[in-house]
Subunit: 62 residues, 6 copies
């Protein structure tokens, strides 16, 4: 029942998400001692105008 939510900027390929899901699930399962079947991952993708760090939108940063 570990449930993960991961926020990333848009632009990753399906292949990258596939590998991420596979390896993160493995890491969670092995370290927290639960079956892989119990691990859910929600991926949320953001436009660069929807993330800010230090008060600056990412879209405004070089």
């Amino acid at each position: 029942m570990p449930i993960l939510q991961i926020e990333i900027l848009k632009g990753r390929t399906v292949e990258q998400k596939r590998e991420m899901a596979r390896r993160v699930t493995e890491a969670v399962s092995e370290t927290l001692n639960c079956p892989k079947e119990a691990v859910s991952i929600i991926i949320r993708e953001m436009e660069t105008e929807n993330f800010a760090k230090a008060g600056k939108l990412r879209v405004d940063v070089q």
Copy 2:
């Protein structure tokens, strides 16, 4: 002030969301003993490449 966030896969109709919101609000209001006006629901829809179970993206599962 119950605030609900519900994550679902894309593909539901507005009519389904309408019924879901109505009935979930009723259930929360009656069991937690608060006015319906106090209940907020945020619905988030995911593409099948943005959800994984057991390390596998949903888009890869039959």
Copy 3:
């Protein structure tokens, strides 16, 4: 795979949470057309000093 997160103020009994979980799951399952087994609910409880509406902490409101 509907995954719900619900934020409430502290103070509900386990019996209230039990009824809420049962009825919300039923409502989601019937309206979104998915098996009850697929529905997960995370409940998070807040102290009144950790919720604000209109700029005022709940702990400060009569």
Copy 4:
């Protein structure tokens, strides 16, 4: 390390988000006593069919 998530309805301009991010970061930094560089903000935008209050979807409300 304050991490903020803010849910809003679609329709704000980039200029509004820019000002919001700047001023919210300033407010968090000054009141919680942490450097602005430590503050992250995630903005999530909803369609009006994905938010409900009092059991009614926003899209159905005048």
Copy 5:
């Protein structure tokens, strides 16, 4: 209906949260053009063993 969730480390006083809620609500209301009454803020506090940056738990960092 802007709904904010803010994650912070434990250790802030109620007075700090009070000021934060007041000023963040003001900033959101003025920049996103919505009444203060519409702004909700959920504060979540973490132990230092429940936050990691760069793969290191905060509790392990000087």
Copy 6:
């Protein structure tokens, strides 16, 4: 800037969280192609009365 939130049941040791954070960060960094320094992880722990699956609280399940 990948930001992860992970919900687990109470009961893991700090050593388990430490290993989880280290390995998940590595997995995210290598597959999504970003520096480890950019990865944040928020861990949230639930009591068994605050998680439900299939309409049943975990505290009620053997």
